[in-house]
Amino acid sequence: MVGIGYEGFPRETPHYSFKELTFEAALKAYEDAGVDPRKDVDSFVVCEEDYWAGWSISDEGAPDQLGGVLRPLHTVSGDGLNGVANAFMQIKTGYFDVVVVEAHSKASDILTYEGILTFAFDPLFYRLLNAHPHFLAGLEMDAFLEDHENTEEDCAEVVRKNRENARHHEAASFGGQTSVQEVMDSEVLFRPLKAAEISPLADGSIVLVLASAEKARELTDQPIWIRGIGWSSDSPWLETRSLAEARYARWAADQAYRMAGLERPRRRVHVAEVDDRFAYKELQHLEALGLAGGNRAGALLREGFYEMKGDLPANPSGGSLGVGNLLEASGLFRVMEIVRQLRGQAGEHQVEGATLGVAQSWRGIPTATGGVAVLEA
């Protein structure tokens, strides 16, 4: 990993088109990496989805804002961390030295967010229930709390922690001091899920520059290494997947940890950025990643284990709850944040002495798809 750049993350960006958002992020990433996209980049990977863009076959419009016209480019209709996995594999073939990954959210352009999520449900079954798509998050949270040793207060605690952490992130839109009681008292929308536990949408673009080991040493004195990466999906059918456990995250972590030769991750990892689009998801994901000593994420949270000053800070950036839900850029945000931590460039939310970090993504409701990357300084 040799370059990072972002433009974001306000609630809305009425002055930029989504292409211009990407352009601004790309300029920063290329400057950071010291590369010219017209000469030095061998391939581009863009993670986007037509319905988020409001534009059919939108991959045709992906190259120019990245400097990728007449260069190899492919899109991944999925989360940005899957794009990093694609770039990683391209570099591993030996045919590519420098690969760029981009993902963005122009959520403020979307007037019917719920409708797009509803379209992701089976049209012959649950789309017909005429229910808000977050009902599935309510079901998952209920199953998770029933099966695991966590409480509704633990989920509220995640909101408190992440909004507190976001106060120290220079680009977060939702940082602030929130008490557990305030979260518990917020409107119950999909019992047991409450309004304050749902991350609000934000805009932004993120661009990462990856290079082969040899090229990386040429470009920078401080490369961040991808030691392991993996991705996985639980059953495509809601009925045959686990509601209580994030098996996709466990399977993705198994792959990434095996590649990295990482055992006993809870003791070795210094910092983690995991998907917290809903508060219960952070706990569910920490457990699936083996960072919670089994099903004890809530207990460890209460002991301060995941706080900024704890043994394993989780979402020191503030995560989606504090920074905002960046749609398909959410996973890329988490990878970028780990890179910043390992470079010692995370500013006010720097975790002291972090040299090994884990980033994890989830594609959001109604998917059971996610990825994991293990990064090292």
Binding site: E114, N130, H132, F190
Partner: protein, 149 residues
């Protein structure tokens, strides 16, 4: 929604479809409409009965031709109560939704439970309630809701 300072236009992407139920879906919805029963497909290779039924096994990729009747009674496995509608507007009457599992079937069904929210609990036995015969169209909504036994 349209900003004063910056040019923005509202637009939509209208797209209409006809969704095909397919071989497995067709039989599933037909059995509900004509016989008030749930049917799943059985994979002898994996000893798994899928509900809803599928034409193929997601584990071993066998084509599935054996059908099994699933009992109309199941147990609540997960519950949520939606206080807002599909657009996020407050509902006058909250909607209780549950994942219900059935003995002998892998999978289950999510649907409305016709009970006050405080009366629904994990593990409770419920029964499938169908629309009256003349009103059934061979759709998922031929299942009206789950009720307590």
């Amino acid at each position: 929604m349209v900003g004063e300072e910056y040019r923005r236009w509202e637009g939509d992407m209208e797209a209409l479809y006809v969704y095909t139920a397919g071989v497995a879906g067709d039989r599933f919805f037909r059995e509900i409409r004509d016989n008030e029963r749930l049917m799943g497909t059985y994979c002898p290779e994996c000893d798994v009965t899928y509900l809803p039924p599928r034409l193929y096994c997601e584990t071993c990729f066998s084509e599935l031709n054996e059908w099994e009747e699933i009992p109309n009674k199941g147990r609540v496995d997960a519950i949520t109560v939606a206080y807002v509608d599909d657009k996020g507007e407050r509902l006058a009457r909250p909607k209780v939704l549950a994942m219900v599992r059935f003995l002998g079937a892998n999978g289950g069904l999510i649907h409305v439970v016709d009970l006050p929210e405080e009366d629904v609990y994990r593990g409770m036995e419920v029964e499938v309630v169908y629309l009256p015969r003349g009103l059934r169209k061979g759709s998922f909504l031929d299942i009206l809701h789950f009720k307590a036994i």
